[in-house]
Amino acid sequence: MDVKSSIEQSMSFPGEVHQSPTGGILLSRIDDVINWARSNSLWPLVFGTSCCAIEMMSTASAKYDWSRFGFEVARATPRQADVIIIAGTIVNKIAPVLKRLYDQMADPKYVIAMGACATSGGPFFYNTYSVVKGADHIIPVDVYIAGCPPRPEALIHAMITLQEKIKSGLTREQIRMPKPELISL
């Protein structure tokens, strides 16, 4: 499936409408509705540690405009954020801070590792005295993006991927939570 049609499909509401003389009845699972709502309003935390953050800012601004996908409300406090985009190099000194920010975010929370540094240490993988070789040594990551830095399109693609992951109930948070009983309307 190409990206465009996968977006169109995932933008649609999960459920079916049964026509009736007085209007219609909507049939859906409350889980799916919640996931649908959550995935379309993900508030990112303002967190950029180096060059990748420039691309993230560009993604947020007018030309690429991530608000088209429900990401526009960037929060400066972890307590109000849903997703942390690790945009940049993580060094030993910032590692405890990153962990703390993640702990302070309210559930459900998601993580995108943006760029080679956050994925693996990237250009600093060899002979480094300070760089953490991958942010997943510190916090669990839902989506990785390759690139140094990734283009804004790649970041948007990663965000759509995250949305799809949430909708299909496959993020780490959702798997960890006990599955609620199916509610039939």
């Binding site: 030993n92 000194k93 060899y126 002979n127 005295y129 300070s130």
Partner: protein
């Protein structure tokens, strides 16, 4: 009179005589060396002198020369005279076993963080510094990463060989 490299050099020699040495002008920037014991005297002379007025400390850094016996570490000061718009640089050398150099924080407040950074990466012990601890690296680090005993690149790496790029 416009201040030039030559006039600065003249003034320094007049004041300190033999103790300032190794005058050079790489890329037009006056560079010289002094013994580490008088680094503060030189700094405050350059700062206070009516015509010189080197009141802006642009940078402090260190260099590690593993082959220079008893002069392994150099501390380099970059100064800028805002009135004459002239930049100069001078070096003091110290032995790596006892890397003690007097702090410049009494003259330039900006030296505080620069000296902490120099300490962080080269282990230069600035005597009299009000808060000499690591600034960029984690506090638990027990070595000085910019010294030359730490290789710039892993000698066993093969992924950067020309062969890997089809031009071996």
């Amino acid at each position: 009179m416009k201040l030039s490299n030559d006039s600065v050099k003249e003034k320094l020699i007049k004041k300190f005589g033999e103790q300032v040495s190794c005058f050079q002008e790489p890329y037009g920037m006056l560079t010289f060396e002094t013994p580490k014991e008088i680094n503060l005297k030189v700094l405050s002379f350059l700062f206070d002198d009516e015509t010189l007025k080197f009141t802006f400390l642009t940078a402090i850094c260190a260099v590690h020369y593993p082959d220079k016996k008893d002069k392994e570490l150099a501390v380099v000061y970059h100064l800028h005279s805002l009135t004459a718009n002239l930049r100069i640089r001078f070096k003091v050398f110290t032995a790596i076993e006892k890397p003690d150099v007097f702090t410049a924080t009494g003259i330039f407040s900006s030296a505080n963080w620069m000296e902490r950074e120099t300490f962080d990466f080269y282990g230069v012990n600035f005597i009299g510094h009000p808060n000499l601890k690591r600034i960029l690296n984690v506090d638990e680090m027990d070595y000085f990463p910019m010294r030359k005993e730490f290789p710039l690149e892993d000698q066993t790496r093969i992924d950067k060989d020309d062969e890997m790029f089809g031009r071996g």
